[in-house]
Symmetry: C2
Amino acid sequence: MSDQQAVFIDRQPLLEVVPLGGLGEFGLNMMAVSWEDTTISIDAGSMFPEPELLGVDLIIPDFTYLQQRAAKHRAIILTHGHEDHVGAVPHVLRSFDGPIYGSPLTLAMLESKLAEHGIDAADRLVAVHPRDKIAIGQLTVEFLRVTHSTPDCFALAIHTPVGVIIHTGDFKVDQTPLDGEHFDFHRFAELGAQGVLALFSDSTNIERPGFTGSETDVVEAFEEIFASTRGKLVVTSFATSVYRLQILVNLAAQFNRKVAFVGRGMVETSQVAQRLGYLKIPAGLAIRDSEIKNHPPGSVVCLVTGSQGEPMSALSRIAIDDHRHVALTPDDVVVFSSREIPGNERSIDRVVNHIARRGAEIIHEGIKHVHVSGHGSEEELKLLLSLVRPRCFVPVHGAFRQRSRHARVGERLTRNLASKVDIIIAENGDVLHFDRSGGWVADKVPAGRVLIDGPESGLGDQVLRDRRHLAEDGLVVPVLAINKQTGAVEGVPDLITRGLAVEQGADSPLRDASRLILELLETASVEERTDYGMMKDKISVELRRFFRKRLGQRPLVLPVIMEI
Amino acid sequence: MSDQQAVFIDRQPLLEVVPLGGLGEFGLNMMAVSWEDTTISIDAGSMFPEPELLGVDLIIPDFTYLQQRAAKHRAIILTHGHEDHVGAVPHVLRSFDGPIYGSPLTLAMLESKLAEHGIDAADRLVAVHPRDKIAIGQLTVEFLRVTHSTPDCFALAIHTPVGVIIHTGDFKVDQTPLDGEHFDFHRFAELGAQGVLALFSDSTNIERPGFTGSETDVVEAFEEIFASTRGKLVVTSFATSVYRLQILVNLAAQFNRKVAFVGRGMVETSQVAQRLGYLKIPAGLAIRDSEIKNHPPGSVVCLVTGSQGEPMSALSRIAIDDHRHVALTPDDVVVFSSREIPGNERSIDRVVNHIARRGAEIIHEGIKHVHVSGHGSEEELKLLLSLVRPRCFVPVHGAFRQRSRHARVGERLTRNLASKVDIIIAENGDVLHFDRSGGWVADKVPAGRVLIDGPESGLGDQVLRDRRHLAEDGLVVPVLAINKQTGAVEGVPDLITRGLAVEQGADSPLRDASRLILELLETASVEERTDYGMMKDKISVELRRFFRKRLGQRPLVLPVIMEI
């Protein structure tokens, strides 16, 4: 159904499901479900660009398919509040009317995100609770509690005229959830017993054998760390890992340490989660980062942003001894309570080396069990498939390798069932049709990625651009020669440009751009200057700002640094 | 000692040790040891360049320090035959006279490497065996058996007039070595009891708790895989992991499968190792890759190169169904019996996704225990330190984070010993002086990295260049726009150049270069064209060859591919 018409076969309407993102990558999760004149979207996630895409801040799914049926689009349903599920909402919500459903925490996380974009959509946000059912046209969306790394997450059971489809969202089976909100096994089992038309299930961790384990599994390792650390304890994790924050707050109270949230993400998430009652902080325990110096190091734990080695994050600043309020000493311990997202290994390695030079001890999940994944491993994914026993099984969330493995595992599990399970390895843009008897790939619609050049200097400064646009915007390659020994720049930075309308000669803006780079390097510390990841990032940000303000252009900036 | 003079304090000579590589990175391992008019080198390793250094094939240590004392340089001592310990030998051996000592396998691996460079140094290679002692001036080098991922590895005990220093080389404690060649605990203990002046010990796996485990630990998982695989079994590992090859050969014999070595590295290593008796292959078991098609898939195991996702390797070819003799089917199983070297994650991920599209099952160390490291974990490193109880301890092999952690672990272990252990976190180029009472950092000499632009088309075509030279060679940035849906190039590739003396206009070589890229893309399969890693690599190689042949220039080539 690539046009505005509803789908019929022999006069019988069909259910149409179109994954628009998340099948081919981690992130960008978005799926459209349509029945006659009703279309709903499940999630609208973003992802961070690969390092090649310098000049791009964010990627969102191409939702042209939905824009073409905007008149029928009735609602956005959110499974939970992580970036890869809600990050594109600010970019898609203006295209559609209608409510946005999600749990209270999901909506609160979304609201902070919308506020960053200067969007007030409070009147469209509708909070829902486990087992709530919302009727939207002839579709009824039922919210099922699942456990994940953040509280208040849902799977969805969508009751349609041809049967029930279940979308798991992100989940693992946490048998001891910190907030006592258990996985709703019973409802999954009940729906499975009654008959489910299709299951769309998270494939993220299908390559991990066994069970993932509970969020509370990290407590033991952290107890050891709290007990043995003489100086400051600095813990970095994803700011949205609210359970992790709660565990660390609890241990801080137990071990008589004050808690400081450091870095914007940490401060915001902790405030939102506390306001809504998802994060409970005993009175007097939390301090501001500016107060850290007023307490003995052994009485403080800092929860900081920057677990992925992001060059501008609090932890990167701390690592190069350039943070206003946090300085590391050899008595301190820095814990990476996080995984390395593929692609970030080298940035993280740089930060760890800087921290080691400060003399602090470093602990990560390879050393102690200080992190646990939020996604179910093979046994949990099999358990869910066994409970639901769907007519059709569609692995979602992941590259082809994960989805095809999930399909293989599903095939082994279901091959001896009385009723056959059809397994569909779908791609983004595949149009899946379902009738009462099953489902199939019927068509293909455009799907892909839209690159976003984010706001560097305020609100509402977003530009959506596709890659063709990017090419038209021109290219700037600043080439710098840095002396490895001294960290000094040799000669004047050279700026190679292409597709930029820019004067040459003595008054050329390129001279100013070159001077800007020199200034940037002169004001940087030696440690920063020899951290090429950080320098490239800084040069990119500053040059893009320069070209935007001076020329009204938005070139791709691709710094090349040569050591000499 | 930065000049040609021997070192004296109050007329007493001092021992001088200078690490020239491997302290600041993984790879480039090289260390100089001098006593009066005798200098020896321990290892001369290379490393592969970071992805930023496009246009560079190999990095070797800057050995200016050794060239300055070439007249005193008496010998190169090799601990084992891995690239990070012998890869620079072809580049350094012409600078010095004198023998190169190593185990028979190490020397055989070196000889193949030298042959690639058209170097015949057979008359300089001297095979040594465990507990052999070689006198070189007033230094006596003793070879101690250690276990690692390849057979016939040594640690070194160097007897000097001021005491014994021990260099571990790479090691783990494999209690059940496949070849029965056990770790020489007794000699380490004996030397420790007699008194050791300094220990230089491998820090690679200091961030892993516990023991690493034996090479034979993978047998169980592979037995399961051999037993359950209906189609071809394709196993990729480092070609130099001779124990791994032997285990797979043994299992092939047990499970009635023929063994095909696929890819140059596998073919060469297996031949060398077999010739010297390190790899035992029952008669009739091995087949050529061209014979694979003559056997039922269930009767074949292929041992292939490409575990790091190298774009031109056998496995990458197989993954995109472009290998002459090996085609994957859904009954086949591909095993990555290797770790992901940091920086290679994305290349490997691409290859895995391609393999998944062939329908084959994929198994890696995250799924089953099909790989074990060759480097000792924390407990093994502590065990060695306890056995040796040196006067000074110098962690080697690794970035600052590993060496500083090794130092910290060493400090905790030795703080209660009767005699204090001095721990020195040295850097490449630090000049360490030792007398009978201990050691200290006395000076700093130039040390760093030399980039090598390798031969693309034959022997003896190597150019050593430093980064300054690289900048002088100019820069070419080919910018391509590829249509994501069709894989077709849009428009003509644009070539941005800097620092290249090249004509513009209709006859410009840049037009030919642009045409070359178009041809390259046209002859590539759709799957190749959408694999940007592979395309960038191909374009780099071809353009470098073009500029070298046509203009005699060697620019840095930095392809930018935009999806539109």
